[in-house]
Symmetry: C2
Subunit: 464 residues, 2 copies
Amino acid sequence: MRLSRFFLPVLRETPAEAQIVSHRLMLRAGMIKQNAAGIYSWLPLGFKVLRKIENIVHEEQARAGHIAMLMPTVQSADLWRESGRYDAYGDELLRIRDRHDRDMLYGPTNEEMITDIFRSHVGSYKDLPLTLYHIQWKFRDEMRPRFGVMRGREFFMKDGYNFDLSKEDALHAYNRHLVTYLRTYERMGLQAIPMRADSGPIGGDDTHEFLVLAETGESEVFYDSAVTDLTFGDREIDYDSVAQCAGVLEEFTSKYARTDETHDQTVFEQQVPQERRRTARGIEVGQIFYFGTKYSDAMGATVQGPDGKPTPVHMGSHGIGVSRLVGAIIEASHDDKGIIWPEGVTPFHCGIVNLKQGDAEADAACESLYAGLTALGLDPLYDDRDERAGGKFATMDLIGLPWRITVGPRGLKNGVVELTSRRTGESEEVPPEEAVKKIADIYRGHHASEHVPMMGNRSFHTYI
Amino acid sequence: MRLSRFFLPVLRETPAEAQIVSHRLMLRAGMIKQNAAGIYSWLPLGFKVLRKIENIVHEEQARAGHIAMLMPTVQSADLWRESGRYDAYGDELLRIRDRHDRDMLYGPTNEEMITDIFRSHVGSYKDLPLTLYHIQWKFRDEMRPRFGVMRGREFFMKDGYNFDLSKEDALHAYNRHLVTYLRTYERMGLQAIPMRADSGPIGGDDTHEFLVLAETGESEVFYDSAVTDLTFGDREIDYDSVAQCAGVLEEFTSKYARTDETHDQTVFEQQVPQERRRTARGIEVGQIFYFGTKYSDAMGATVQGPDGKPTPVHMGSHGIGVSRLVGAIIEASHDDKGIIWPEGVTPFHCGIVNLKQGDAEADAACESLYAGLTALGLDPLYDDRDERAGGKFATMDLIGLPWRITVGPRGLKNGVVELTSRRTGESEEVPPEEAVKKIADIYRGHHASEHVPMMGNRSFHTYI
């Protein structure tokens, strides 16, 4: 993309209304615009990041054999009356009355609807196990929406639901989701620590939240510093293997890590040596639940078991805050010049800065870099505007592309351009073709369509 | 995908409530489930088609240099009061009151919001031309929703908006959109004829609707049969070229083709030789508008012109009914056994039917076909259930995959499998590896990520 043809309305001033850094930077970098309290438009740069996160979530769900679908945003109130949540949910539920005076609502979550779909179509234990999920806009009518997309009213969320014949099977589904989430967050450049949590209005006993450590986090967290040494990495997992998934759960949750809701100081002190006890703040970016037969009992979602008798299914639900993640990643990865995107979610793979727009040689070198990168399937942002170098650098730093190629007449005389890392600030001078090669090498493995190998029986095409 | 792991709740009975064939077939093929009047869940098979259509629209918009973004579904009523449409829009506007008693609405379209974004961020003619678009859920509170996703209340739509300095520039944007739409529909296997139309509540003088001919169409249309001979094909277009885009408009709109809203029998008879006069029914799948300064005047969206004076921008809007297209494609492509998907939008590239599940040789041959196809990036649906051949064939015919490979012990003895076209019903016996190669050849050029070459300055990655 040429910047002259893109829509990137960066702001010089820091907007007064923004209290936290991700909100400030998203506004300044032209990623979002507020339309009403807690309701945002995703401007082109923001939308690209949102879509990349969405795609990573889809790919990792497909890898585990979970099936994508899409439920509507507007729901009938009747289903919520069946589960008892229509009255219980409170003022955060956005209630709507349609032209025929029917009670509707803008879904904040979909347990009722998916249970209704399940009971309408699935009758036998032979159709289990089944995990369905969708990524859809939700609405929660927060009393005081704040922190930009981190606590908006209209938000984009992945929510998945497993249906199993027994508690044992459902706990395998729980563990399998934990595995998919670990891999999902790592691909976004995030360390998200699973912590024992409280189940809140969803209900159920078993639940873990995934928290990203950040000063601006809304939760106080307590953990053994050894948990931050754990990485999932590129390991091969058979998602059908009960033992393998349970092993990952054990590895990632046996050390103490809890939010303030479930923190127990005595246990903390017993289990964790003093030098490894940490208190910090965390941003919740996901949560997994096992809630048994809570909804299937209330709504009559049974299957015929092997013994021929109707058996209520065991369920869980599993959420990732897709739009919230954009803010969380920025909270975890920025400096005073702006955002620093991890390679997995960056809106453009690199920037090209032409120090002397209009200079025939510099222009030609930039065009050639641009063509070379796009021919390899990469997506560079070429700042082809007639602006001072300082302004171009400031924009690139603000929007946070992880790599920048700087092209100027002086370097070109020596046959080189400058390749700069946004994260370290380090630069090296290399011939243009080597810069292209280096960028391509960096992103090998981060390319959506290349990153997901066929896992056994499942292809990554499955979700589209 | 193995069918035993997929969620495909096909119905044996034809649902009584469905009046038209696409609605019946979408319900029977397990593509959708109604949640409330005119509100549907997209079950996995339906979601895959919806997503493929969405991706084609994104790719063709990116090819023309249009910039993707995303506006929210819930809007503040204030903007609609500014344009005067809050009262004018009538009962189809779903009005919402939030917990603080503020008037909101579920957007049926986004002219006001995009104009607000534009006026907030764009100040100079130097930032023009600009075309922004999004693909988002909309709501229209229809009095009598019907025909399934063809006339639902919650629907998925692409709407794009161009901002230009002059009427002349805006008409180029109009023509450019016409070009992108022709290519978009053809990639979905549809012939959508641009017809002169009425502008309705959007306003403006210049507008064309794109209509797919089908018996169940809601509009009566009148056209010169010569328009159905026109195809856009694979031609190279420079989207910046005013002459080239105008040439396409001329080619595709100079022959008589109008909906009943603008039909003029006298002109029809004057312009079209009797043997080429056709009357038929059509389904509207898109519309493009030039409406000049209607919204920019009302909402003060001006830029500083080259003369330093504030100039209201010339605008147009351009819509494609993404969810409606799923129904329209089925209306245009089915037989009495079920759906017949065009290759560009098929949910799976082919089906694999194992005639004797459990037979070691047949199972191994199916596994090998499955692995061979997925290794090439294809997405087959393998019916691995323990069912009779007749039931498997009926399911494949119903869900409409364009190609089927049938594997049975008898053929395998001769080293062959059967490759069948859903459209023609013709079969040929070929060795398994040749079946894989043939399927791959058919889809070369239909693969999303391969189909869009880099067009000059723009890469297809741009939209994600």
